[in-house]
């Protein structure tokens, strides 16, 4: 792998950048792999990377039905945080945040992590009580979190409206300073380049059409490029988890919904941290390119269409203009949709399955991007050892039968 650096940029400038190597290969699939990862999004690529980097398992293929990073990885609002209520969630999201903090260096690929802070607004008495509980729990887990007054919020975010005359005035906020944003494509590309460099085959435009089993054990997958044998199969396909589970003969506690996101035209810096409001239903940050990146809740109905309904956009724009009256004349430039897989307890599934050698990583709902490295790291462990790491053991499928749910509805960015 040719290392990236300011020096390599300068060196390549002398040859008009004609000698840069491929960031990753485009190999044809081999007939058999030790591990096949279904899904070439951030989580799948991270899984492959950590399988190779941490467990010495490099005979791995990542099968992607479209282009790598093209699902929710390339469609989300890039928010990273670990301010979760329950211990189990805090542990895995914090692991992920810590991996993010060293990821650019680890991957030799700048993922543009920007720890500019994530602010969660409180608009009523109930919000304030929830916030107090959450901040204290987060701090108990050794994760940074603090409570801000409206005056402190205004200082941090001068464009925000803290007037008491608002329909739902801002009464306070919690702040995780280590939270922030990263460049979503770069996370996928960085993991892809790192995995490829360690021998992983990334195979794009290869859709899995069946999961082969024999005697309760997985033996491989069928794909649009032909059958591929595998000792183990890890499925990380976000919105399509139920479809893959159906191929393997079981059901998941998951519904797929549209989640829309949008950006404004680029403008000069006006917002220096991530602002989220559950009560008035919107979240917003400003990208390095100058676009305001905006999202809110899911569409109510099940869908695999990667598009949602209009009233969702109107709703969140009303909320945004209410919070930031000076944004009223900025303009929506582009909106799009992804398919999110939601679990009843708003927590993910990172688990062994009823089929031996088959593992599922899904149910991240609206918040999977922030978990990308941690999820891949824990999933790689689960696949390599055939048993969950303590970090993801609580997120096993059997919790739905035992009742040990991890209800994070309050933590999902905006209610779902």
């Amino acid at each position: 792998m040719q290392r990236y650096s300011i020096f390599s940029l300068a060196r390549n400038a002398l040859t008009g950048h004609r000698n840069w190597p491929q960031a990753w290969r485009s190999p044809a699939p081999k007939p058999e792999y030790d591990v096949v990862i279904v899904g070439g999004g951030g989580h799948g690529l991270a899984t492959a990377y950590y399988l190779a980097a941490e467990h010495g398992i490099a005979n791995v293929a990542v099968l992607e039905k479209g282009w790598l990073g093209g699902g929710n990885t390339g469609r989300n609002t890039t928010i990273i945080r670990s301010n979760y209520l329950w211990d189990e969630s805090a542990a895995i999201y914090e692991k992920s945040l810590r991996l993010y903090e060293g990821l650019s260096r680890e991957l030799n690929f700048n993922i543009m992590l920007s720890q500019r802070g994530v602010l969660n607004l409180a608009h009523n008495e109930h919000d304030l009580k929830e916030m107090a509980r959450r901040v204290r729990a987060i701090r108990g887990n050794g994760i940074d979190s603090e409570i801000l007054t409206p005056a402190e919020i205004k200082k941090l975010v001068p464009a925000i409206n803290v007037s008491k005359d608002m329909r739902y005035p801002i009464l306070g906020a919690s702040l995780q300073r280590r939270g922030g944003v990263a460049r979503h494509d770069a996370v996928a590309w960085g993991f892809a380049r790192g995995a490829d460099d360690r021998g992983v085959d990334i195979i794009q435009n290869c859709e899995v059409t069946g999961i082969d089993r024999k005697g309760g054990r997985v033996t491989g997958v069928r794909t649009t490029l032909g059958p591929i044998k595998a000792g183990k199969v890890g499925v990380v396909v976000a919105g399509h988890a139920s479809v893959l589970a159906d191929m393997a003969g079981f059901r998941l506690p998951i519904d797929s919904h549209p989640l829309q996101a949008m950006v404004s035209e680029p403008i000069k810096p006006v917002l220096d941290c991530v602002v989220m409001s559950n009560a008035v239903h919107v979240y917003v940050s400003q990208s390095d390119k100058g676009e305001l990146v905006i999202g809110a809740g899911i569409d109510s109905f099940n869908s695999y269409a990667q598009r949602g309904s209009w009233q969702i956009i109107e709703g969140q724009m009303g909320a945004l203009v209410e919070l930031f009256p000076v944004f009223s004349r900025l303009r929506l430039m582009r909106s799009w949709g992804g398919i999110v897989d939601t679990c009843p307890d708003a927590s993910p599934i990172l688990s062994k399955t009823p089929v031996e050698g088959l593992y599922f990583n899904c149910g991240w709902g609206t918040g999977g991007f922030k978990a990308t490295p941690g999820s891949g790291w824990a999933f790689a462990h689960t696949i390599a050892r055939d048993e969950p790491h303590p970090l993801n053991a609580p997120f096993s499928l059997d919790r739905f039968a035992t009742g040990a749910l991890i209800d994070e509805h309050g933590a999902a960015a905006v209610a779902h």
């Binding site: 990236y4 650096s5 300011i6 940029l9 400038a13 950048h17 004609r18 491929q22 960031a23 290969r25 485009s26 479209g66 282009w67 390339g74 260096r105 700048n110 543009m112 009523n124 008495e125 009580k129 107090a132 509980r133 901040v135 204290r136 729990a137 701090r139 108990g140 887990n141 409206n161 329909r167 739902y168 460049r183 494509d185 404004s264 035209e265 680029p266 000069k268 810096p269 390095d288 390119k289 598009r307 309904s309 209009w310 709703g315 724009m317 009303g318 203009v321 209410e322 000076v326 944004f327 009223s328 004349r329 900025l330 303009r331 929506l332 430039m333 909106s335 009742g403 749910l405 209800d407």
Partner: protein, 1008 residues
């Protein structure tokens, strides 16, 4: 700036749409200019010549006006100042008004001299995606360099600025329905609208320009031997007169959604600028539901790339035609036009007629004879087989190079220098597929026309006509438009038959096919110097596309994301197809094998304010007021938002502090009598013989034994066994019950009952009706309460014998029919008096006059916490069972109910789950923090073992000290233990675990 020297004199074929009698003064970058009514800011500025009025996004090279409308990539400006300031508007879409003020964006200190131009000279080390390859901070400390560099990147990025003050303008939304929505008011769109209107359809025609006409606005076309704009005027006359036709001018359709829902933005007051009439909204967002849609959206011209093709003075060929024909502006004296198709010939003719020296380089070896002859006859120098290969100039065009182009796209030999101050380029036409793309239609590559054509969307009720469907001549546009309008009307059920008009057009002899051509610069090593841009707005060059290919970012989405091609505010209207084609050439694939670019809504950017509409400020969300709201407001109430309701939190008397008010209210209830407005509690009237069966299934406890005139408390759970609501239900008659719910869940619980009744238990004969708002509810509580209610004019016997705790009585109070519940959430003897809502204020006033102290929700919270009564959402959070709360007494063992089975699951059956307990701080002056985490060992370093949290905590005037409710792991088995509640920063407060009841544990007071 030396006068509008490029404004053409009045002439039959130029300037048809400006009003020379109405000059308008305006300022740009502080300089004064004059244009005319009918101008855009762009045309008015171009009358002064092509000068730099913008800077490129990345390299900050000077940029001028490139197009005429939504496709414009360069000319972004900041319009006006203060609260009405608007960043990033395209000068080509701003209608000129008197006094307009605009300035350049993204240049410092000025657009004439921009320091960031240094990026252009440093560009060798800033190829596409350079930022992914550096600032990783290797060996220095993760991310440190990036943290240093990021603020610079951020400041350099972006175009204009957000206004510094709130937006003073108003925005409207309008819902509309029609049989046929026609998008685009060019010849095809007008023709379609006429056809549909003739059939009696309800039609909406939306056109984004100040006036419809589309390409005919250039003024050089004729229909039926008369100027084509006469036909346009006649068509509009008919449409405007038809009762069920709405012509929306200045209205850009922004997006198409499922079931033919379209959004469009109409500019209403905007075109008047800050002086717009006060009553007019600035913009109106149309939400249109159409049975059928006709896309007559036209096509966007695309350039081919050559060296320095971003120099001010390089423009789209057809844009030059429109500036001349519509606005009487030709920003040059010597024009060089490069083309690979027929359309540039009309531009050449018009410019020649306007007196410019014109060279037309047609890449085709054999241009169509009729067109070439006509051009030559008009004095145009036609150079066959030639292209514009470069421009020289820098800040404006000072010359062009024209060379012969070989079949493989390379330039043969040294190109010839041509004197020029205006360069037009036409590389072909891209049908405007954006709206079809919103519906998920994958475009189809048309090899013959070298463009993506729209997929067939007939099944979705969407048709395309005219240039949007690939039509190249006017006759086809009119024909296709008519057919599409007729078919749409028919499909919408309008069967009236009409006759198609026969129209004569000036299309002339057949032309010749396009010669596909994407880039002519830098295709061979040692070629012509200078950057050749594919995406002018995002500064993506031909070389950048090659680099993406080399690094294997080869799918269209990787190309876009890696290079940012097509990701700008123009969404790559002039760039995307060229980028795809170049990537195809790099990788040996046809353009559609690279992928088809997916256009996202909106078609053109939409201001947030227009999306928010009226949902802002006081009208952001409904404010629900109880009947007694006015009294509360007039008597010092501090309100809290509970859902959409405004509820009094406490009533401040005089200069009283909030805490003092709450304390006073609590004491009043404990020592005398208080009255609370409980009107917001959900009330559901249940009638029918099977109500008791329903109650047994939705509540955890038994309901068979409830007698008429009595009330009972119940808990409601989901199937997962977790509590989601609680309340008291009373039996008013044999088959008649009244259920109460929490304020926040009133609608949810009614919906829950209806869902089960309709979808699962249709055999149950129960009618459920919300009566929440039919009644005003005043809760009178305290030792003096009986004396107080007994003083009301009423036929109800208030004595304990006649009206015991948990009884319900109906009668009259002050002459009004009343339902009274003897229930207590405060722990005192308490009556909830319900009277018809309109009578609420009178009842309330009578109670106040009788001596009751009004108390708010916070005093109520303190009172109930002292009793250990829970609040759903505070003591519960969706993870709490009745057993967890120690309310196993309310869980029936004899019957099934929703959620019951879940209690047998291993985790739910654990004896050491979190239980509701009371906590008494060892130091009674301490009020434990709500949300405080409970630990055994306060000295443990994080992550600490957290055993639960404080759910409610108050200072009790009755107990004279702090007390709390908490959820504590294994709490019921830890009575008497000392635990510690962590403070926010450091330290912890010790507290003793006690039963969750602090006041009048045997309940004597509320029964008394």
């Amino acid at each position: 700036m030396s006068g509008p020297q490029y404004r053409l004199p009045a002439h039959a074929l130029t300037g048809g749409r400006i009003d020379r009698d109405r000059p308008l003064g305006f300022s740009f970058n502080g300089e004064r200019f004059t244009g005319y009514a009918g101008d855009t800011l762009a045309s008015a500025l171009l009358a002064y010549g092509s000068f730099p009025l913008a800077r490129g996004f990345k390299y900050h090279r000077p940029r001028g006006i490139f197009g005429t409308g939504a496709e414009e990539p360069n000319a972004l400006v900041q319009l006006e100042t203060g609260g009405r300031s608007q960043p990033n508007l395209r000068a080509t879409q701003i209608e000129l008004y008197g006094g307009l003020t605009a300035s350049s964006v993204n240049a410092w200190p000025s657009v004439e001299f921009d320091l960031m131009r240094v990026n252009d000279w440093l560009s060798p080390i800033f190829p596409s995606g350079f930022y992914y390859k550096t600032f990783m901070g290797a060996g220095i400390g993760a991310g440190r360099w990036w943290r240093l560099f990021e603020p610079f990147i951020r400041r350099a990025a972006g175009f204009g600025r957000a206004p510094a003050a709130p937006d003073p303008d108003r925005y409207e939304r309008m819902n509309a329905h029609c049989d046929v929505l026609v998008v685009g008011g060019g010849p095809a769109g007008l023709s379609a609208a006429l056809a549909a209107a003739n059939r009696g359809s309800r039609v909406i025609l939306a056109d984004e320009q100040a006036e419809p006409g589309g390409d005919l606005l250039a003024g050089d076309r004729s229909i039926d031997d008369a100027p084509a704009m006469d036909w346009v005027a006649a068509a509009l006359g008919k449409l405007d007169a038809a009762p069920d036709v709405t012509v929306l001018r200045r209205t850009a359709v922004a997006g198409l959604y499922d079931d033919n829902f379209a959004t469009a933005v109409e500019s209403v007051g905007e075109r008047f600028g800050p002086g717009a009439p006060e009553h007019l909204p600035r913009l109106r967002l149309w939400r249109i539901r159409a049975r059928r849609i006709v896309l007559a959206t036209g096509a966007h011209e695309r350039p081919y790339a050559f060296a320095n093709n971003d120099t001010p003075g390089v423009m789209l060929g057809n844009a030059i035609r429109h500036y001349a024909g519509r606005y009487a502006v030709a920003p040059g004296r010597q024009a060089v036009l490069g083309t690979n198709n027929d359309s540039a010939y009309r531009t050449a003719l018009l410019l020649a007629q306007a007196g410019l020296a014109v060279t037309l380089a047609d890449a085709r070896e054999t241009p169509p004879a009729a067109l070439a002859d006509a051009a030559r006859n008009a004095g145009v120098a036609v150079e066959a087989g030639c292209v514009v290969s470069a421009v020289v100039g820098g800040r404006r065009v000072r010359g062009a190079k024209v060379g012969r182009v070989l079949p493989d796209g390379e330039i043969s030999g040294a190109p010839r220098a041509v004197e020029a101050d205006l360069v037009g380029v036409s590389g072909g036409w891209n049908p405007a597929l954006h709206l079809a793309s919103h519906r998920g239609a994958k475009p189809v590559w048309n090899e013959a026309q070298a463009c993506f054509a729209p997929a067939d969307l007939t099944a979705l009720g969407v048709g395309a006509a005219g240039a949007a469907a690939g039509a190249e001549i006017l006759a086809d546009c009119l024909e296709q438009g008519y057919a599409a309008g007729r078919d749409a009307a028919r499909a919408a059920g309008r069967t009236k038959r009409t006759r198609k008009p026969a129209l004569k057009t000036d299309d002339g002899a057949a032309g010749a096919p396009i010669r596909p051509l994407w880039a002519v610069a830098e295709r061979r090593s040692g070629g012509i110097g200078g950057k050749a841009f594919v995406d002018l707005q995002n500064d993506v060059t031909v070389k950048d596309v090659a680099l993406a290919a080399r690094e294997n970012y080869r799918s269209v989405e990787h190309l876009k994301r890696y290079t940012t091609l097509g990701m700008g505010t123009d969404q790559g209207k002039t760039a995307n197809v060229t980028g795809l084609a170049l990537m195809g050439m790099e990788t040996g694939r046809p353009p559609d094998a690279v992928g088809t670019t997916t256009f996202r809504p909106p078609y053109t950017p939409v201001p947030f304010g227009a999306l928010a509409g009226r949902d802002r400020g006081a009208l952001f969300d409904p404010v629900r007021e109880t009947p007694m709201f006015d009294w509360h407001e007039a008597n010092g109430a501090v309100f809290e938002d509970v859902g959409q309701w405004k509820r009094p939190y406490a009533y401040r008397r005089g200069g009283e502090a909030l805490e003092a008010a709450i304390d006073r209210e609590v004491r009043a209830v404990r020592n005398a009598a208080g009255v609370m407005d409980a009107s917001t509690l959900g009330k559901i009237d249940l009638k029918g013989p099977d109500v008791v069966t329903l109650l047994n299934r939705v509540y955890t406890n038994d309901w068979e034994t409830l007698k008429v005139g009595r009330a009972r408390y119940g808990l409601m759970c989901h199937e997962d066994g977790m509590i989601f609501d609680d309340g008291v239900t009373a039996r008013l008659a044999d088959d008649h019950y009244l259920m109460t719910t929490t304020t926040g869940n009133a609608a949810t619980v009614l919906g829950w009952l209806e869902m089960w009744l309709q979808t699962e238990w249709p055999e149950l004969r129960v009618f459920a009706t919300s009566v929440t708002e039919a009644y005003a509810t005043a809760t009178v509580a305290g030792p003096e309460a009986r004396r107080l209610v007994s003083g009301l004019d009423s036929d109800i016997d208030w004595s304990d014998e006649a009206f015991p705790h948990m009884a319900v009585r109906t009668g009259t109070v002050l002459g009004a029919p009343a339902r009274v519940f003897r229930v207590s959430f405060s722990g005192e003897a308490s009556w909830e008096i319900n009277v018809p809502a309109h009578c609420g204020p009178a009842l309330w006033q009578a109670l106040i006059d009788g001596g009751a102290t009004p108390y708010g929700t916070e005093a109520m919270h303190v009172l109930r916490a002292e009793k250990g009564f829970i609040i759903v959402g505070q003591e519960t959070d969706g993870t709490v069972t009745p057993h967890d709360l120690g309310m196993g007494w309310a869980v029936s063992k004899r019957k099934d109910f929703i959620g019951k089975r879940s209690y047998k699951r291993p985790d739910t059956a654990r004896p050491d789950r979190k239980h509701l307990v009371g906590l008494l701080p060892l130091d009674s002056s301490t009020v434990l923090p709500e949300g405080g985490q409970i630990v055994n060992d306060p000295a443990q370093e994080p992550p600490v073992t957290m055993l639960g949290h404080v759910t409610s905590s108050y200072k009790s005037p009755s107990l004279d000290g702090g007390f709390a409710l908490a959820l504590l792991k294994n709490g019921r088995n830890r009575m008497g233990d000392t635990v510690h509640v962590l403070r926010l920063d450091e330290g912890a407060d010790p507290a003793r675990v006690v039963a969750p009841a602090f006041y009048d544990r045997d309940g004597g007071r509320m029964r008394g």
